[in-house]
């Protein structure tokens, strides 16, 4: 009886430290930010303004542009990246493939590069005189350089290409580990029943990967909503705010303009609300309906 109690106390003590740390470093700033989001003013001169900041959100065309841009990235980039990741994972899971380790490393490698470093490299590759334009011109695919960074449409394309390059390998690793847990006998049985590769992929691989697809969709969605480094370093949000992300707008409100930390906190909370809504929707669609 006594020893049982001691075990309990030891257990609680173990939990106490992380609980305190999480409260201090996660929940306290969360609550502070929420309170801050009801204040407005320059720098330190903050006053309570009630819901003014939240009303301002809906009239703020910069914010609306940032949300639109972010959702364009989300709707185009996340599906493209995940399909690509599944495709590559299935290819690399093939038993007959040689140099598997090399390919896996090569495709995963972008994930561990520095965000800023790769963004800067992309900026130069896609510049007016950059290597991408030079190659396309040499292959006679285009007759004059594409303004990858200074044209509103192509700037978005550049950002999407960049984040796809960076994060496809990361998602591929999840699919690969999932694929290796699928029992080979399932495929054998299917082959005996006469299922071709196509049917096997859609009737076996995809359903068995479903929990992983849900997981990667949610993490990629959150990642995209927080997009910052690429936009800041490749296009600076331009031309004319056409690539600005919500996170960059928060940065601008806090540091580029006359600082209004209250309103910046409000914009931050708008991301929280979006993440909650999107995650609930994805859980509804993708989650198990037991």
């Amino acid at each position: 009886m006594v020893s049982q109690r001691r075990i309990n106390i030891t257990g609680w003590l173990f939990i106490l430290v992380p609980v305190l740390a999480i409260s201090l470093f996660y929940f306290y700033p969360m609550i502070q930010a929420l309170i801050l989001s009801f204040k407005s003013g320059r720098g330190m001169n903050l006053d309570f303004v009630g819901f003014d900041n939240y009303i301002r959100l809906f009239q703020d065309s910069n914010f609306i542009t940032a949300v639109k841009n972010t959702f364009i990235y989300l709707i185009i980039q996340v599906p493209v990246m995940l399909v690509l990741a599944i495709f590559i994972a299935v290819l690399l899971n093939d038993d007959n493939l040689k140099f598997k380790g090399f390919f896996r490393t090569a495709i995963f490698l972008p994930t561990v590069t520095s965000l800023v470093a790769y963004s800067v490299v992309f900026k130069y590759m896609f510049g007016g005189d950059g290597i991408v334009n030079k190659m396309l011109m040499n292959f006679h695919l285009i007759s004059e350089p594409i303004q990858w960074i200074s044209d509103p449409f192509w700037a978005k394309v550049t950002i999407i290409i960049a984040i796809t390059w960076r994060f496809t390998g990361y998602n591929m690793i999840f699919y690969l580990s999932s694929l290796q847990n699928i029992d080979k006998s399932v495929y054998e049985a299917a082959r005996i029943d006469g299922a071709n590769a196509f049917t096997q992929f859609f009737k076996i691989t995809i359903p068995l990967l479903k929990p992983m697809i849900l997981f990667t969709t949610i993490t990629s969605t959150i990642g995209t909503l927080q997009l910052f480094d690429e936009v800041v370093n490749i296009t600076k949000g331009g031309p004319g705010n056409s690539t600005m992300s919500i996170s960059q707008y928060i940065y601008n409100l806090s540091f580029e303009y006359t600082p209004d930390f209250g309103y910046a906190a409000t914009v931050s909370y708008s991301i929280v609300v979006m993440v909650i809504i999107l995650t609930l929707i994805q859980n509804k669609i993708g989650g198990d309906k037991k």
């Binding site: 470093f25 996660y26 700033p29 969360m30 502070q32 930010a33 407005s40 320059r42 720098g43 330190m44 001169n45 301002r56 009239q59 703020d60 065309s61 910069n62 542009t65 900026k123 510049g127 007016g128 005189d129 303004q147 960074i149 200074s150 509103p152 949610i218 959150i222 909503l225 927080q226 296009t235 600076k236 949000g237 331009g238 031309p239 004319g240 705010n241 056409s242 996170s247 928060i250 601008n252 806090s254 540091f255 580029e256 303009y257 006359t258 600082p259 930390f261 906190a265 931050s268 991301i271 929280v272 993440v275 909650i276 995650t279 609930l280 859980n283 989650g287 198990d288 037991k290």
Partner: protein, 433 residues
Amino acid sequence: MRNKLPKVLSVLLASAVVLSACSTGSGGESSEGSSSDTKEITVWAWDPAFNIAAMNKAKEAYAETNPDLKINVVENAQADVVQKLNTGLNSGSTKGLPNIVLIEDYRAQSFLQSYPDSFFELTDVIDVANFADYKVGPTSVDGKQYGVPFDSGATGMYVRTDYLEEAGYTLDDLQDIDWDKYIEIGKVVKEKTGKFMLTQDPNDLGIIRLMVQSAGSWYTTEDGETPNIANNEAMKAAFETYKKLMDSGIVKVVSDWSQGVGALNGGDVASTPTGNWITPSIKAEASQSGKWAVAPTPKLSGIEGAVNASNLGGSSWYVLNVDGKEAAAEFLAATFGTDVDLYQTLNKEVGVIGTFKPASEGEAYKAGDEYFQGQKVVSDFAAWTEEIPNVNYGLNTYAVEDILVVAMQNYLGGKDIDSVLADAQSQADTQIR
């Protein structure tokens, strides 16, 4: 029911991840924690070739008479200085903040007014009358002086005379012209030499700032707060001139600063109208020595009061209201505030043109520069400095500029100028409060 919990948890977890990313980062790393009697101060600035180099020269000069004071000059990118200063001042803890900091003139008021008691008043420390008039507005609040005016952003038009000659022009043809004439010359240069006349980065409206100030106007009215876009004749003329420039085919579009400098050094463009701080970057290409010259800035045509002189960028030194402020203020007063000889060194060795009026009487300011065919560029800039209209940059230069960048895209895309400016005005009205 058993299924509910993980879902709620995953949502909470997701939002926690987001929030932790949103809560802004820490202040600067530790630098000093001096009490008033310790003889050590810290300076933050950016640009090693220019501001940092200048500060180090000042440090050397000061050490001759005051060897006790230890001065740490720390290099930070300008964006980092702005961010660290904002987080530091906002947290209410002055630990980790420097004693002296360099702030760009466009941003100065935003700091001085957002953090009223955080800066040390220098009214009695320096004599404001000794500095260029247009620098006084950004560095003071309600008649109280807070900054030591430093870098002059006086603009000029740097030109490649060899390309001009090939196109049939001389430097005399560029004296006191307006932008229409500039475009006309640019077209001939493009036709005869195949070289672009200038570069532009669509995200950087520096040239609009330059044009608007040359007409004595700004993004905001004289109170520094009310957006001044829709009924601003200078703004309208600047927008129209910008579109003419872009449509004329004489502009090489670049995507950032270093590509712009690359185009200058690579001989791709025939001119650049910009602040005199570009001099070290142009001179970096030694092979082009003797090919460059500097003409006055073109002026806006059809605008009354527009002059052939303007300002772009420029920055000043500020003392933070923390321990060591007296020592910091003394140091600034003895160097950038009074030392005429120091300014000669700065000019000869670093290429800095200050805004300290007595310095222009010195030797270095009258010397010809071989790189610019013996032209006395410094005294030319000093003369233009006196013509620069004094405007109040107010608090919101960069917030308004972000709105103008979008407006410019719409205007270049074919929208009518008046409605573009009216839209920008109403957007700025909601943005700035």
